[in-house]
Structures are given as C-alpha cells and as structure tokens.
Symmetry: C2
Subunit: 192 residues, 2 copies
DNA sequence: TGCAAAATGTACTGATCGGTACACTGTGTC
DNA sequence: GACACAGTGTACCGATCAGTACATTTTGCA
C-alpha cells in the first residue's frame, strides 16, 4: 500500500471538482491546480472517469464519517440524534466552501442511470439512508424505514435549497418539519 | 411578435439540454438534432448562455403551468391540493422522459450563485414557492410560509431521489410525510 | 413580379478537450 | 554502482468546443 502521491492527487482533484464541477474541470486545469504532472495522473488512473470515481469514493468516505461523528456529538439521546441530522447539515451549509452535494451534482452531470458515476452517487445516498435508518431504529421508531426515508427527503431538499440559495435557513426549516415527523412517528411522544 | 423558427429552436433545444445536459450538449449537436442551422441560432441568440436562459424561461413557464393545472385537477379541496402536489410529482416521475429537475441540474452545472443561469434557476424555485404558499393560504394554514417551505423541501427531496433512483416511490413517501405535516399544521385536523 | 428579411450550408477560427509518446530525472535498494 | 521505479516536462494527437464569415437560397409581403 503506497500512499502519498496518488492520494494527494485524489484529494486535490476532489477540491477542484467540487468547486468547479466535473465537466468544467479539464485535466490540464487539474495539472495547474494540483502541480501533479499529467503523465503521473494517467499512470494512476486510466481515464478521467476513473479519477472521478476515486474522488467520489473518497468524498463518500469523508462525508459519511464526518456526518456520523457530528450527529453523534450534537445530541445525547437516540431521539435527539434524528434532529441533530439537521444541525449537522446546518453546520455544513454554513461553511464558506459549501457548494452543495457532490453526488447530486455528479448525478446531474452524468444523467444516465447506469453510468458508473451516476450509479456510485446513488450508492452514496443509499449508504446515507442505511445510517439514518439505524438512527431511527435506535430511537425506537416502529417503522424505521419510513421515518428514515422521510427525514432523508427533507435533508435532500434542504441541501438543494441551500445550494441554490432560494431559502434563508433550509436546515432550520427542515429541522422544524423533521421534529413534527419524529413526534408523530415515535411512540413515547413528547409534544413540541 | 414573430413566432415559429425561434420558438421551434428553443423548444427543441429544451428537449436536447434536458436529455443530455447543458455542457455536454454542444452547438453542433443542436444543429444535428434540431435541423436548424448554426447561423440562424446565432442570429437569435448571441451566445449559448443566452439560448440556455431562453430555454429555462420556457421550461419554467411550461412546468409551472402544468403543475398548477394538474394540482388543481387532482384534488377538489384546498387541503387536498396540498397533498395533490405529490400526486402530480408522481405522475411526472413516471413519465419515461423524466430526467430530474432541469433547474437543479442547471444550478449544478453553473455553480456560482451569481451566474445568470444559476440565478434564474433559483428564481424558478422561488416562483414555485409562491404558488405553494398560496395553496397553503387557501387551505387555511396559520403559517402558510412555513408549511409551504416544508412541503417544498419534501418535493425537492423527492425529485432528487427520483432522479438518482435510489428510492422506489419517492413521491408516495413524500406524500405520506406531507400528510403528517399538513395535519399538524392545519387547525381543522382530520386524523389520517 | 420584385424586394427585403430570414434562413441556410459550408468552411473556417483559435481554444480546449481527453489522452499519449518520449525522453528525462530523482530516489531507494540490492 | 547498477537497476528498477515513480514522477516530470513538453510536445503532440484528433476531436470537439463556442462562435464567425460569406455567399446563397428561401420566404413573406407589397
């Protein structure tokens, strides 16, 4: 297992793709921004698509780790964690480098459902769902699948709204709606 | 007011951009697909960006008209219309030509918030919000702004989920969640 | 019929795209 | 000191990109 150069490339390419987009970021631009020679890039990745897939793998790992950890830190009860999802999102949206969800954008640029980039982006969303469903189970939801799906719809909507900038505080709006859904879904209901 | 050729171009370009994406659809490809000469295109639109903006204007008009009409037809009560939003979305998702929301994709390809294409896409979302808020007002919501925002987050999430294909029936899931929110928000509550 | 506007076809520009060829340099190991 | 290997720099490939020049044909209207 050799780390360093290849990882450095993926990491820097991630930043460039996230900031500028996939199609809009050419390989020559990557050379300029990363300082890594084109020859080296194509020694590690056969095509640009392969590089993008590696970038998405890294992003998926980084984001899910960050998200899980942050949700854990932001609440101390299983039920509170379901709402902390949206506090974590709010923190994300507030970062100056925030540019929306990389996977939504990847799926938007590579539209065909069976395109590897599209499929891998969908896989990320599926893994996010698995995590949220676990949170819903831990909170004692009678139908954790359904609750997780509903919360994820709100989260997805908030991410899009935050990226497009047509709403002032999407995370807070989503959290308020989520609170209603959680109260309705969990048996030991504490009123708002 | 001369219709025909220019409108034909915008209409066909809309289909091409929607199916293939904005950056991925070159002007030469538009020539091939529309049968309209490049010279004519550039006589009507100074740049590709201008053409895209015209396409987005047409799409906004078409989609909002269709949406408003369909929501109206699908329900007979103001309250029912709030849920019919998601029935209409479900119909949209079921169309074989469905390829996600053109404005989300446009905003994903042109990321800078002050880019005209991004800004115009956000404007579409704002207009959708205005419409949904009217529906919420008509249904007697004490805080129509908040209810409309929550419903739109669900709708946005459903659109993304439908486009990425990681959920089987996003419209139905969103509708179920919306029913809970509507019941909680409206004074004359009928239980589910 | 005649004239102007609208639309066309073709061929081109310079720039950039993803990807490659090839000769070179640095580094660590036996 | 020799060999292998990772990485570099540069120059290039054919294709495509957005956009233009120019001469020609079609069309609508009087």
């Amino acid at each position: 297992m050799r780390p360093t150069k290849r990882d450095e490339l993926v990491q820097k390419a991630l930043a460039a793709f996230y900031r500028t987009g996939f199609q809009a970021t050419g390989m020559d631009r990557l050379v300029a921004e990363t300082g890594i020679s084109k020859t080296s890039m194509y020694k590690h990745f056969r095509t640009k698509e392969d590089l993008i897939l590696a970038v998405l793998r890294l992003r998926d790992e980084q984001f899910r780790n960050w998200f899980a950890r942050r949700v854990d830190e932001l609440a101390d009860s299983p039920r509170g964690r379901l709402l902390a999802i949206f506090d974590a999102l709010g923190e994300w949206f507030g970062q100056p480098s925030f540019r929306g969800c990389m996977f939504i954008k990847a799926a938007a640029e590579y539209q065909e459902p069976d395109h590897p980039i599209h499929a891998q982006s969908a896989e990320h969303k599926r893994l996010m769902f698995v995590h949220v469903r676990k949170l819903a189970e831990a909170a004692g939801a009678p139908d954790p699948d359904r609750l997780a799906r509903a919360l994820l719809l709100l989260a997805e909507g908030a991410i899009v709204a935050a990226h497009m900038g047509y709403e002032k505080a999407p995370a807070e709006e989503a959290r308020a709606a989520a609170a209603v859904l959680v109260s309705a879904a969990l048996p030991g209901a504490n009123g708002p």
